[in-house]
Amino acid sequence: TELKAENLRPILSEFKLTLIENDVAVPVAERICEEMEKRLNGLQIKRIEDKRKIVEQNLREVLLEIMTTNERIDFLKTVEEKRKKNEPFVALFVGINGTGKTTTIAKVAHLLNKKGCTVVLACSDTYRAGSIEQLETHAKRLGIKMIKHKYGADPAAVAYDAICHAKAHGIHAVLIDTAGRMQTNKNLMNELAKIKRVVNPDLTVLTVDALTGNDAVVQAEEFHKNVGIDATILTKVDADVKGGAALSVTYVTRKPIIFVGTGQSYDALEEFKPEKFVEMIIR
C-alpha cells in the first residue's frame, strides 16, 4: 500500500509532541515533521500496520542526519595542526549568562593538558562579580597560567595580551573566557563581535545549557548571525535532559556539537554522540 499524507499526519503529530516534550524547539519540531511528511508521502509499504515503525525509522535517520552535521570538527586534531605550524590555537567561548562557559574552559584546558598541550587562559570577563577569582581558582588548581587585567578593563585587550604571551612562550593553546550576555542585548553582542575581530580565533565556541527550551534556537541563531559560531558545547547534560536542545542548535547553525558537559568536575567533558541523543529525543 502507499503511505498517504492523511494517514501520516496523526502519527507525525504524536512524534511532534514527543519532540517538543523532549525540548526540541517548536519551529524545529514543526519543520522536521513537515519534511518527514514530504519524504514519506507516496512511499510504498508492505503492510499498513508497519507505518508507525516506518515513520519512526525515517525520523531516526532524519534526526541523525541533522545532528551529524557536514562540518565535523576533531578538536584535538585542530589544536595539533596549529602546534605543527608553531602558532597558538585560539578558542573564544561565548554564550548567555550561566551556561557554563568558565567551567567548560577549565575542562577543555584539563583535556589539553592531558594530551600534552600547554594552555594559557584569558579572563576576558571583566564585568561580572567574581569572574576573575573564579577562573583564577581553576587556573591555580590546573597549574595553568591565566592572563587578567582589572575589572572594567577592555576584554579584547586581555585576550590580545594572552595571545601575545602564548606566542612569546610557545604555548600551544589560548582559551578565552567572555562575560555571559543575552543575545537580545545589541551593545553586548557588538562588543563580542569586536573581541572576535581583534582576536581572530581559530574556533568560536557557543555554550548552551541542555536544559534550555525554545530559547536555544534564538540563542544559536543570534550568536551565529552576530558573532559567528564554529562549534557548540552542550552543558549540564547530566541533569537528566532529554537532549532536544542538541537538535534545535544543530538545526539552525549547521555547526557541530564538539563536546557535552556532564558534571562539575574537570573530567566531566565527553564527546558528543549523535546516535545516543537521537534515541533520547524520540522516546
Partner: protein, 290 residues
C-alpha cells in the same frame, strides 16, 4: 516573535464573522502553539487547552459580553488560575528577622538574586544581610562579597570552609539583629543526590522561614520534574524567575508553580542589582501569550 503569533490568532478571532466552533478550535490551536513556544509544559498545555475548549464552547456566555469577549476571558482566566490573581509579596517586617534560603539549578541566577533581594529590602528601610553557604563553586564567596560591597550590605562566608551548615549557622548567629538574612546556596539538579541531600540537611539545620526556588527563565520542559524534586527535598515556599530580559517567555515558571504550589514572588530582568521587581500575574500572562 511569539507575540506576533498570538496577536495574529486574536486578530483572526476579531475578524471572524461568526465565533463558531471552528473559529474557537483554531484559536485554541494557536494558543497551544504559543504556550508551547513559551516553554509551558506539554501536559499542562493540553490540560489548559482542553478546559478552555470546554468552557468556550459549552459555557453560557454571560449577559452583556459577546461570544468573542467571553472566549478571550476564558483563555485569560485559565492561565491566571495557576499563577494567582494578585501578586503575593515577600513579607519582611522590621525587628522580626526573616531567613530566606535560595536554592536552584546551576547557573540559574541565585547569587545575583541574593544581592538583588538584599538591595530591594534595603531600599524599603529594612536591614538585610547575606550569607554565602556555597562551598563548591570557585569564587562564590568573592562574587557575593563584591556584590554586597557595592550596596553596603554585610556578608558572611568562609571561602575555605567545607561545611555549609556550619557557615550558615555562624552567619545567622552574627546577623541576629537583621530584618532579613538571605542564604545563598550552591547550584544543584535532581540527579546530584548528594547535593540534594545536603540541601535537605541545610534546611533542617538552619530552619529558614522560606525556601525560594530560583528558576532560569530560559528553562524548557524539564522545569516541572526538576521543581518537583526540589519541592520533595525542601518544601518550596516561593519562586524567583530570572533572565526575563532575554527572549525567553518563562513558561517553565508555570510548571514550577504547578509542581510546588508556591507563588512566584519576584522576577529578575537583567544583570544589574536594580534589575528585580515583584511578580505581577497579569503582566506575566501577557508575556506568555505575547
Amino acid at each position: 516573535r511569539l507575540g506576533a503569533s498570538l496577536h495574529e490568532a486574536l486578530r483572526k478571532l476579531f475578524k471572524a464573522a461568526v465565533v463558531d466552533e471552528a473559529v474557537v478550535k483554531e484559536l485554541i490551536r494557536d494558543v497551544q502553539r504559543a504556550l508551547l513556544q513559551a516553554d509551558v509544559n506539554v501536559q499542562l498545555v493540553l490540560d489548559i487547552s482542553k478546559r478552555i475548549e470546554e468552557r468556550a464552547l459549552k459555557e453560557k456566555v454571560p449577559p452583556g459580553i459577546s461570544r468573542r469577549e467571553h472566549v478571550i476571558k476564558v483563555v485569560y482566566e485559565e492561565l491566571t488560575r495557576f499563577l494567582g490573581e494578585k501578586p503575593v509579596p515577600l513579607k519582611v517586617e522590621p525587628g522580626k528577622r526573616k531567613v530566606l534560603m535560595l536554592v536552584g539549578i546551576q547557573g540559574s541566577g541565585k547569587t545575583t538574586a541574593a544581592a538583588k533581594l538584599a538591595r530591594y529590602f534595603q531600599k524599603r528601610g529594612l536591614k538585610p544581610a547575606l550569607i554565602c553557604a556555597d562551598t563548591y563553586r570557585p569564587g562564590a564567596f568573592d562574587q557575593l562579597q563584591q556584590l554586597a560591597s557595592r550596596i553596603n550590605v554585610p556578608v558572611y562566608g568562609d571561602p575555605k570552609g567545607k561545611d555549609p551548615v556550619k557557615i550558615a549557622l555562624e552567619g545567622l548567629r552574627l546577623f541576629n539583629d537583621k530584618d532579613i538574612v538571605i542564604v545563598d546556596t550552591a547550584g544543584r539538579h535532581k540527579e546530584e543526590q548528594a547535593l540534594i541531600k545536603e540541601m535537605k540537611m541545610l534546611e533542617e539545620k538552619i530552619k529558614p522561614d522560606e525556601v525560594m526556588l530560583v528558576i532560569d527563565g530560559t528553562i524548557g520542559q524539564q522545569a516541572l520534574v526538576q521543581a518537583k524534586a526540589f519541592n520533595e527535598a525542601t518544601s518550596i515556599g516561593s519562586i524567583l524567575l530570572t533572565k526575563l530580559d532575554g527572549s525567553a517567555r518563562g513558561g517553565g515558571a508555570l510548571s514550577a508553580v504547578v509542581a510546588t504550589g508556591a507563588p512566584i514572588k519576584f522576577i529578575s530582568t537583567g544583570e544589574k542589582i536594580e534589575d528585580i521587581e515583584p511578580f505581577v500575574p497579569s503582566r506575566f500572562v501577557g508575556r506568555l501569550l505575547g
